[in-house]
Symmetry: C2
Subunit: 150 residues, 2 copies
Amino acid sequence: MARPRQPIPTLDEFRTQLRRHDLRATKQRLAVHAVMMELVHASAEDVHGALELRETPVPLTSVYNILTQLSDKRIYSRRLSGDNRMYFDIDSRPHIHLYDRENHIWRNVEDEELATLVTSRLKRRKFKGYTVEGIDIQLVAKPTRKNKKI
Amino acid sequence: MARPRQPIPTLDEFRTQLRRHDLRATKQRLAVHAVMMELVHASAEDVHGALELRETPVPLTSVYNILTQLSDKRIYSRRLSGDNRMYFDIDSRPHIHLYDRENHIWRNVEDEELATLVTSRLKRRKFKGYTVEGIDIQLVAKPTRKNKKI
DNA sequence: CTTCATGCAAAACATTTGCAAAAAG
DNA sequence: CTTTTTGCAAATGTTTTGCATGAAG
């Protein structure tokens, strides 16, 4: 049934992906990916902050450069949050998200069946003048009292 | 089958909505709504520009004030575009969108059946710590050659 | 008249750009 | 060595804020 999602690429797999896209394996890129392996979904600011707390600080501009480039190459993907920030997603494959609109946090929702259902249904429809490239499904949710992270 | 969508509120109906929310029917608000009746989906900048071309220029700050307030009250809704701008939607009821990622334009997609299908299916699922408030479905599309608006 | 709304100028933010210096292969 | 990448400082563009003035009810 619900096929397990793509595993998060290890650092070595990430190196391979970089090579495939003619990107050099700099220590800044590896550091960003190491942090993204934990965060999964994060803004440039989040990544920058996490790197401060680690061994490898990387300036915010460089974090932007790196994250933008990785998502341009479809190694990562990106989403816009309700608070007007860009969030990067370590997983570039389309998948359903649950968005916490108070804390601006995303979680992945495992439901391949539903994704397939919606996709196959919409793919049948034609929209004059357009080629549909993807379908984005997001549950907008509010944390219940006990779950409040902030 | 596909039930027709909410008609766009006329100026009079808009006045009523304002009254319901204890908002005064100022000429700036009415001018903004008059423009939104045509644009349907628009950024603050778009609305500001359209008002320039009309009888009632309204400064950009005021357009922001008005649009933000109207969507806070759920008279309008809002969406973030791929180019990091806030777009306001005259229709606050959830509905499926087609997003033109080159021109940053939205169109409504009529498919109540699909919306119902997805909603009922996801409503059955429980997400620990969260209350699902809405489901957002968006087709990301690229204009075909002939359709290029810009 | 009392309360709410507008609109100016300025601030606040997130993100991008140009480019010289540094690192990778 | 050649090419790519980093990272600084500065710019850009959108949205927000504080507050005095003006309009609505």
